[in-house]
Symmetry: C2
Subunit: 348 residues, 2 copies
DNA sequence: ATTGAAATCCAAAGCGCTTTGATCAAACTG
DNA sequence: CAGTTTGATCAAAGCGCTTTGGATTTCAAT
């Protein structure tokens, strides 16, 4: 059933039917009611393609997911982020078109999608410092929202991000205040902007508490369980192990905990652990009570907000919402006072 | 730059330019070369919407992700599956439109997407027995591939699935052959078809080895780390604990391992554990050597194959590929002979 | 009654592409 | 050399919608 058939059926012109359905005022309420009734009786749905062609809007948003082609990785964070965004899109009548592309082809892909007029806007995932996608999209002149920030890129664009720096500074200070002097950072890949900010927060806290940061206590890797395990294990087996671990992802934290258990150490006693927690669907931080002490911020919610920011920008292209989300800090059982370590005893 | 402008620029008709670009034979190779050169010099990209309208094909595939609205869960399995599928789509020039919808609205959503002619086909995720979506899509008459199977639904449709039954039967038999008599099943939600098949395999193995299955050793829940932990902990704290755990997901297995560690038990000695392993990006089963003994099958690859099956069906709607993937069985350090338990001693 | 204005409705153009059916020249037939 | 085929190109219709610019009717106000 298309517009023509529907309007013939009703004995009205296509114009009137179209207007009735789209809520224009030039049509009497009686007619509108009649049209709407007939439309959903016959299950009429306007053809998206035709509508898009006529209006010049495709009513779709592009998400370009980076994937390390070499090791075929998709961060589970994206799943939750997209689920959040999707909610907003549905409500606004937008579709979500997703492409998963290797890092190198992202520009091409975005340009293609935009050039073909397949989408009205983009969400940019996992930005790196001076991310070239930002310049590209500005040049193409299409609305977009960055999830995260890109140090060094032209800052005049919309973004949604959490306050990584403050969160990691706070967590580190919390550990320092518990007496920990050797704190390790198990970070994500520091080619990403978020990881650099987290490291910066970690370092700021050291400065604030008069601690000497130790480069050998900082690792940076893809945020997998296995990497968390390996990094933590190596650290804890050293002759001068850290007494606390700060993890950039709950997935790393799970791996780190495996290492702690495996070495017969007790979490919260022998070793303290704080994790960043994106509140991922399948990796909730414990049940009612948090298991790990954590910096918490729902990425699902960030997705929702990013989508809303984009809708706003599409409605009025001059707008460029910039949303900085603060994180929660929740205390779980994974942290405690620093144990009396050899080197502390010597000091005394 | 659109077709009209490009053809004016070249002094050719739109027809010729269109044909040159789409590889039709009615155009001389000299002209084609000239057209192609001009097209990419000017970065011409045909407007998807116009093309879709003219051809009647939208060159897009719909994925409808179910999400438990109540607890906002997106299974990380989807991320990898979609990444795999996406690869195939890109190559074939298809886009992927994703909607994340609560269980109850899935039918509506599919009907909507199809009715609006926004997609040319669907992938159906997470089927349940007699899943109504299958009947719906058959009625709408649009190509689709089910990831998994739906017992009880009209079987005449395309699907890609792993041999859940055989895999779980084999794993259970493996444990039985190691002397385990009390084997627990930590299954996914048994409202899903895959979980029912896994349970069936588990039971078949019991029958084959002359073991009495114990209902109280079988649990079924959303496959989260926390649920794995809780279920394993409860089981292992019983007076008659199982000596082996069979987990339906590596995420459950991680939780179960936490419980094992927490109780001071040794994996592979006091308790054996086998997991199903979807080879998820961020939850690889160990490094070079598998950590858990596991039934392994890459869901990324399943995504790729499902997408290919769909492309095939779209090209020729009479085709209905049905692909059953066998799983690998890999031996890791998490399994070993059953410990001598009280009740076994009594027997002797 | 007359006049606008407001309320309804419509015909037709246009969005950017594909595709049908036709044209015309050049290259083969016998 | 007339007649046919082939090769290369084009004009125009159409895909299903929106939207512009009237046309017609209604009705309160003059």
């Amino acid at each position: 059933m298309n517009l023509k058939e529907l309007s013939n059926h009703l004995g009205l012109s296509q114009t009137t039917v179209s207007r009735a359905l789209n809520g224009y005022p030039e049509v009497s309420e009686t007619t509108r009611a009649r049209v709407v009734a007939a439309a959903d009786r016959h299950g009429y749905r306007p053809n998206t393609r035709a509508k898009a062609l006529a209006t010049g809007r495709s009513m779709a948003i592009g998400h370009i997911l980076p994937v390390s082609t070499r090791n075929e990785m998709v961060n589970p964070v994206f799943a939750d982020f997209i689920a959040g965004a999707s909610e907003t899109y549905s409500r606004a009548g937008f579709d979500l078109v997703l492409s998963v592309v290797g890092d190198q082809d992202q520009g091409t892909h975005a340009r293609d999608l935009a050039g073909r007029r397949a989408v009205d806007g983009f969400i940019v995932h996992a930005p790196r410092p001076e991310d070239p996608r930002i310049a590209l999209l500005k040049e193409i002149c299409i609305p977009f929202v960055v999830h995260g920030r890109a140090t060094g890129a032209d800052p005049d664009h919309a973004w949604v991000d959490i306050n990584n720096l403050r969160a990691f500074r706070r967590a580190t200070e919390f550990l320092a205040d518990l007496g920990h002097r050797r704190i390790a950072l198990l970070n994500g890949l520091e080619t990403y902007d978020f990881a650099q900010r987290r490291r910066a927060g970690f370092l700021e806290a050291h400065a604030a508490r008069g601690l000497e940061p130790d480069e050998t206590l900082m690792s940076s890797s893809e945020m997998t369980e296995q990497n968390g395990y390996t990094a933590a294990r190596e650290l804890l087996e050293r002759s001068d192990p850290p007494t606390a671990l700060l993890c950039s992802s709950i997935i790393i934290a799970f791996g780190a905990r495996r290492a702690v258990d495996g070495l017969g150490l007790r979490l919260g006693k022998d070793v303290s652990l704080i994790s960043h927690d994106d509140v991922l669907s399948y990796f909730r931080n414990g049940g009612e009570e948090p298991y790990f002490t954590a910096i918490r911020s729902s990425v699902w919610d960030a997705g929702r907000q990013a989508a809303e920011a984009l809708m706003e920008q599409i409605a009025d292209p001059r707008k460029r919402p910039q949303i900085l989300l603060e994180t929660d800090f929740v205390i779980g059982g994974s942290t405690g006072p620093a144990p009396d370590m050899e080197h502390r005893l010597k000091e005394a």
